[in-house]
Symmetry: C2
Subunit: 254 residues, 2 copies
Amino acid sequence: MPRVKEEEPTTHRTMQVVNHIRSLIENGTLQPGDKIPPEREFARSLKISRASLRTGIGYLAAMGVMKVRHGVGTFVADGPPEFGKASLSLIGALHGFQSWQMFEARIILESHLSGLAAERGKEEHHTALAEEVAEMFAAISSPTDYLIHDLLFHRIISQASGNPILAAIIETITSALYDSRRKTVERATDLRESAEMHREIFRAIRGHKAKEAHNLMEQHLRMAQIAQGMERPKERKRSSAAPKSRQARTATAA
Amino acid sequence: MPRVKEEEPTTHRTMQVVNHIRSLIENGTLQPGDKIPPEREFARSLKISRASLRTGIGYLAAMGVMKVRHGVGTFVADGPPEFGKASLSLIGALHGFQSWQMFEARIILESHLSGLAAERGKEEHHTALAEEVAEMFAAISSPTDYLIHDLLFHRIISQASGNPILAAIIETITSALYDSRRKTVERATDLRESAEMHREIFRAIRGHKAKEAHNLMEQHLRMAQIAQGMERPKERKRSSAAPKSRQARTATAA
DNA sequence: TGCCCTTACGAGGTCTGACCACATTGTGGA
DNA sequence: TCCACAATGTGGTCAGACCTCGTAAGGGCA
């Protein structure tokens, strides 16, 4: 039998698609927000079946690189960089991540980010931060609105830090923490104090006081940690039989 | 026309699969290393097509939760927790992550981890670290072997830190940095100094000197950073309008 | 007896093409 | 003028056949 073996299509189809799109992104052909060709057409141009193309796209979508909208099209992700939304939650379920561990990670990272933002922040960031602080004070009586600006405030700091990787990590952790956080803010009674704290952080960053910005952020987050009951439990006998808090399936809905 | 609309099986099939497997993991039915049923069989039991099941599995595989082996079966991931291997690299290409940023993230995280390891490390970790240090000294003349134990050393510290989330993040960053790192080690001439440094870090951790462990690790990594030419470039004039410049390629390029 | 090669089978990988579901657009009727 | 509905384009799902890879079982040769 003729073992012609013509073209070696390199690796598996999935990776073929991933690498192709990756190169399109790397050479600038595809930019955040761009739409890729329809599946049928794209598949034909790549000489692979639509099913295989979809596998590859699914892979990219899972990691947050692409965003698929039913009935509309498939796009390159835009907005703040972030790892797959569900990834932390999923991997956490697999390895038994605890809430306090997520919060600890957040404290460490965001404190540093705050310090970096103080060192590297530009005028534009200072302006944006000032605005969010003002909005927070204005929303003191509305926990829901307050939370929005709180999130924005922290996100701006991430951007100001000049390290998108750390920013992306924080973004991922924050979204995983979002649910429980929303509940806490609902019953928070002293948003004013929180707002004051944010203002102080802002001032430290604007004044390029890295050390101070770092410490204030850490202090702020530790308070939040306590408010949400996410302190690290006392060192105790391995009692992993804790009441597992069922995470909402809807995750970061709306 | 009979628009019966019987049971709405919740959301899309993909998420249906993901949530199903997720719940199997959460309630302990599925544990790391376990094999899931064959696709055909599993699909039938879930009342969905094999294609849809595969989409869901692909999603989980992309995030490192599951591992698919052609001709063998599909398994729940085991080994050190980690986000999708390609994720950082891919998202990095999309958002123009720089190598120095990855290294900066690594320094920040791993220094803290080292401090935490000093606080929380157990005997078992100390033993393992000691062993790796010994192996490093033994492999001083073999860069490749040396790198293996170097990697292991840092991984043990991650575990000893008691925060699997931070450990997973580090694991992801490290693997993204691996390529360029391997090249550097090839031409490294002074592995002995590096080994000495690791030993000092080990001693700090064993002695529960958190601050010292933190500083030593930071110092160690900054030296490595310089050795690999991954310092943060000088601050340069730059318009805030994001001049769409061709994204610099990360050193991990091909 | 013991090893190696071949075969068989189980499992994932890919293809095809049809059809379903969702969003947007355009057009005709009220 | 405005709303309802149909057409269109795009992703989502399905079905079943076939391909490829790994492993284990079986048989032949030394």
